[in-house]
């Protein structure tokens, strides 16, 4: 019996060893993702381009978007319906997800064997850059020429959707999509409260700080701020940094154009300023534990003078505050055009594996042409290209927003969102802002923390 046992255990050892070696070889041999030498990048660039959708035969077009808020949801539905009415041979299958759900599932969907035809891709290295690098999106340059996107959009909006085909250089190279909506981060103010303090709407950072101090001293909460969700921190820091660092420096930092550091004086001053606001109570107390929605609701209920947020909040504020809410963007100094974070909505892009690129392009054009922009505006959204006849009633927040959008986008005042900087920058920056405002980090250490993420990214690329 002992003989047998020994024989068996020996056999088992051999089997285990064989299995282990086999597994290891397997692990080393095949790697996750597409094959190492698979030529990533665009393959279907050349070839004739057709704009005749009616001749395409029966087509089912699948699109993924992030238009879940009432305004954009309604306009997308309306445009999809109109497109299908115009081209009865096309059926559009819409998949709509919230921004964060889209962000987490789009990668899996795109790398599947049967991806959607048209998707909304977020600008920047983490999303669009990664997709382009993996060859999942196709360049739309030829369509841009045919449909005139290259002339209709200002170049600073187009550039945000450009990438080199290896996905490594942003803002130049091929065009990978166009955007429907415009958006900027700015300052909402309570008109009645501002008037009672004897102040006009601030247009510079200095003016804004004066208003903050005056509100505080008269017992009014200066800013409604809730950073428990982490994203508002990016916006408030960005608004300050735009004014203290200036557009050249911010662009150098975010677009990785070299020669700028997050520890430079401009960014340091922004951190110092924001820390000062927190220390003086301008941001309220307990802001790191308060939700963004609560802060917006507080401002809408008249509990504070200002709210620093994006144009997308107008649809939430307007019904509650009517004409008592105004919107402004800050300039670095009096007389200069406003400068602020913003850009355009997610780009409508085409996947490389789409079997109907011509139909997909025609659909994208339908979304962004003059009629598309009009439908957007009709549903209360800020179109990226406001039509000449789009004139919101004077005194409404929509009129303020349109005026600021024009001032910012037409005078080269758009600054990129700071989380575009590196794939991990959203996490790094949001955590660091929470630590800065809570007094856990000095402005210097704050800059160093951002710079270390930045340096790691620069070394890797």
């Amino acid at each position: 019996m002992t003989e047998r046992t020994r024989g068996r255990s020996a056999r088992r050892t051999v089997a285990a060893a064989a299995l282990a070696t086999g597994l290891l070889t397997a692990v080393a041999a095949c790697s996750p993702g597409p094959g190492g030498n698979a030529s990533a990048g665009a393959t279907r660039t050349a070839g004739p381009v057709s704009t005749d959708v009616a001749k395409a035969g029966k087509v089912t077009l699948t699109e993924w978007d992030q238009n879940t808020d009432p305004g954009t949801d309604a306009s997308t539905e309306a445009l999809n319906k109109a497109f299908m009415a115009k081209y009865p041979n096309v059926t559009i299958k819409r998949v709509s997800r919230s921004f964060s759900d889209l962000k987490t599932t789009l990668k899996l969907a795109l790398s599947s064997s049967n991806p959607p035809d048209v998707v909304q891709a977020n600008q920047g290295y983490p999303d669009m850059g990664a997709f382009v690098k993996a060859g999942l999106l196709q360049p739309v340059d030829s369509y841009a020429k045919v449909y005139g996107w290259d002339t209709a959009f200002p170049s600073q909006l187009l550039d945000l959707n450009r990438f080199s085909t290896d996905g490594k250089t942003w803002k130049s190279g091929s065009l990978f999509g166009v955007s429907q909506t415009g958006e900027i981060v700015g300052i909402y103010y309570d008109k009645a409260k501002l008037k009672s303090l004897g102040l006009a709407a601030p247009t510079t950072l200095a003016g804004f700080e004066t208003a903050l101090a005056k509100a505080k001293s008269s017992g009014l909460q200066p800013i409604s701020y809730g950073d428990a969700d982490k994203s508002p921190g990016i916006h408030i820091f960005g608004v300050v940094q735009a004014a203290t660092a200036g557009k050249a420096e911010v662009r150098k930092l975010v677009f990785d154009e070299g020669g700028a550091k997050w520890t430079d004086p401009g960014s340091l001053k922004a951190a110092t300023t924001l820390r000062g606001w927190a220390d003086k109570g301008y941001l309220g107390s307990g802001f790191n534990g308060e939700s963004k929605d609560q802060a917006v609701a507080d401002f809408a209920a008249g509990k504070s003078l200002f709210l620093v947020d994006g144009t997308w909040q107008a649809a939430v504020l307007e019904p509650k505050m009517k004409t008592n809410v105004g919107f402004t963007a800050l300039s670095p100094a009096a007389g200069q055009p406003p400068l602020t974070q913003g850009g355009e909505g997610l780009a409508w892009a085409m996947t490389s594996k789409s079997e109907h690129p011509d139909v997909a392009a025609a659909y994208i054009d339908f979304l962004v042409n003059s009629n598309g922009m009009k439908v957007l505006a009709d549903h209360g959204n800020l179109p990226a290209l406001p039509q000449a006849d789009y004139r919101p009633a004077a005194g409404t927040v929509d009129a303020d927003i349109l005026a600021q959008w024009k001032a910012v986008s037409e005078k080269d005042g758009l600054l990129p969102y700071l989380d575009y900087t590196t794939p991990t920058f959203y996490d790094t920056l949001t955590a660091a802002v929470q630590e800065l405002t809570a007094g856990q980090l000095t402005p210097q250490a704050f800059g160093a923390q951002l710079q270390s993420d930045y340096a790691r990214f620069q070394q890797g690329s």
């Binding site: 019996m1 047998r4 597994l23 397997a26 692990v27 080393a28 095949c30 790697s31 996750p32 993702g33 597409p34 094959g35 190492g36 030498n37 698979a38 990533a40 962000k103 987490t104 990668k107 899996l108 795109l110 790398s111 983490p126 990664a130 997709f131 690098k133 993996a134 060859g135 999942l136 996905g167 950073d227 428990a228 969700d229 982490k230 107390s285 307990g286 802001f287 790191n288 534990g289 308060e290 939700s291 609560q294 794939p423 991990t424 959203y426 996490d427 949001t430 955590a431 660091a432 929470q434 630590e435 809570a438 856990q440």
Partner: protein, 315 residues
């Protein structure tokens, strides 16, 4: 051989087995038996072992989730050791073990001991259902409700201010010192019901004579608890420890909903980082490496806990 013979299980076997059959049986592999296990084994392989193998495989690569990957060797693992934020995540997990396991088990033991003093409780089943309720409620709901309680103007702070404790009121989940314990206390609230139900059931199985004997010997409440209840509950305590420690280590949804790992990174946890890196920041290889380490840690700790199990239960 001498080692094997000294094991209680080995000693028992001859008595259990009538006749000489077992000797013959042991030598032969029962292929039919494997056949019966085949369906379960297939499911296990396809849905568990293969993904687990892939997890380990991907952890050895740098991969953004979509484009070609590059061989990383153990770089993703060494990064865990070097990255202070990841190390902090594992430390936060240890803190959570205190709140998810130690605290609820301690409290549940105390409560269970008190209930044993009551000779007969009316409506015990209702009581049990109530304390078990937190286990039934979806974690996202729990987290959302507790976020509202902990909010700057939430129930907790309102109550504190009402009794004049304004100085204590704070944004519990937004404060760097209180965020992690606050998340932990949600875990305590969650797990205490589970532990209590386990212990009350366990106490029901302890022979009443033992308590009588203890009383006759003049044992007080504390003595009775230490000499009768606690040893009698060893099995249940092991089960409770295993379940709650795993719950602590795999905590994700609670943090995802309540704090997003914030303020700063004060409540970031390994499981949260796994999700964040895999789906947020495109560091799939690193996410898998963290998942592997987390799995190994969980296995190791549960293995250590089973060592506490009374040996009689092991057969």
């Amino acid at each position: 051989m001498a080692v094997t013979a000294s094991r209680p299980t080995a000693r028992k076997r001859p008595a259990d087995a009538p006749g000489g059959r077992p000797a013959r049986r042991r030598g032969r592999i029962q292929w039919k038996g494997y056949l019966y296990a085949l369906p379960a084994l297939t499911v296990l392989t396809v849905f568990l072992l293969v993904p687990l193998g892939q997890l380990v495989q991907i952890s050895l690569f740098h991969w953004d989730g979509v484009s070609a990957s590059t061989w990383a060797g153990f770089a993703n693992y060494t990064e865990i050791a070097r990255d202070p934020q990841l190390r902090a995540g594992f430390l936060h997990s240890l803190v959570l073990i205190f709140f998810f396991s130690v605290l609820p088990i301690g409290l549940a033991l105390l409560l269970a001991a008190i209930t044993t003093r009551a000779s007969r409780l009316r409506g015990v089943s209702v009581f049990r259902a109530l304390i078990f309720l937190p286990q039934v409620v979806a974690m996202v709901v729990t987290a959302t409700a507790w976020t509202a309680i902990y909010a700057p103007d939430g129930v907790l702070n309102t109550a504190l201010r009402a009794i004049g404790l304004d100085a204590v009121a704070r944004p519990w989940l937004g404060d760097f010192t209180t965020a992690l314990p606050s998340v932990g206390l949600i875990g305590t609230w969650l797990e205490i019901g589970l532990c209590l139900v386990l212990f009350i059931a366990g106490i029901g199985q302890i022979p009443g004579e033992l308590y009588e004997a203890a009383k006759l010997d003049g044992a007080g409440a504390v003595r009775e608890f230490l000499a009768v209840t606690l040893p009698g509950l060893r099995g249940q305590i092991t089960v409770a420890l295993t379940l709650t420690v795993i719950a602590a280590l795999k905590t994700f949804d609670l943090v995802y909903v309540a704090t997003h790992g914030g303020p700063g990174n004060a409540t970031s946890l390994p499981a949260f980082e796994v999700y964040n890196r895999a789906f947020g920041t495109g560091q799939v290889g690193s996410a898998c490496a963290i998942a592997v380490v987390l799995t190994v840690v969980i296995l190791l700790i549960t293995f250590l806990i089973t060592k506490l199990q009374p040996e009689e239960d092991g057969t």
